[in-house]
Amino acid sequence: QQQVKQSPQSLIVQKGGISIINCAYENTAFDYFPWYQQFPGKGPALLIAIRPDVSEKKEGRFTISFNKSAKQFSLHIMDSQPGDSATYFCAAKVDTGRRALTFGSGTRLQVQP
């Protein structure tokens, strides 16, 4: 049972364009939603994260939009650059007790020059 569903599986965007990756979750106990970026041969690295008490969080070119009622959240990468080409994972976690992240299936982003 996949608790966090991510789409699309892959995405090709032109340089300067907007990349949008979507995730949906089922467990209403989740209350921490990070996005991780993974380059080939490397470990995932935290990109940006949000709690459900806000609907949007922006850090530079990266924005998380969060819709609690729809149980969905998305990552927007503005002015996408070739250096953004990587695999992006959404994740979710219950804040207390069990601390492990439940990951989405990943989106491979290619930004073409």
């Binding site: 990070p34 470990g43 601390r99």
Partner: protein, 114 residues
């Protein structure tokens, strides 16, 4: 200055062998994790330790045994390796109480079982 380090980076071995992967973090965190990333890049939690105590043990074969000698180290021993164990294994760490409890991942250990 590596925050979370793993050894070895690559591990190629025969079916049936026993192998260990080591993880160390120098962040002073109290919680460490093992995640498995399969060939489709799906990441899944295997184990979690908090202050050397096992707090998460997912449905993982008994052949996998984690050991935490101290807060800074979490090792993974795998007995009787099988072809299906081929994957990338990531160690991670976090600190309870720190803002959003960011998990920091190591570079991964690429295990190939022949």
């Amino acid at each position: 200055d590596t925050a979370v380090s793993q050894t070895p980076k690559y591990l190629v071995t025969q079916m049936g062998n026993d192998k260990s992967i080591k993880c160390e973090q120098n962040l002073g965190h109290d919680t460490m994790y093992w995640y498995k990333q399969d060939s489709k890049k799906f990441l899944k939690i295997m184990f979690s330790y908090n202050n050397k105590e096992l707090i998460i043990n997912e449905t993982v074969p008994n052949r996998f045994s984690p050991k935490s000698p101290d807060k800074a180290h979490l090792n993974l021993h795998i007995n009787s390796l099988e072809l299906g164990d081929s994957a990338v294994y990531f160690c991670a760490s976090s600190q309870e109480g720190l803002a959003l409890e960011t998990q920091y991942f190591g570079p991964g250990t690429r295990l190939l079982v022949l």
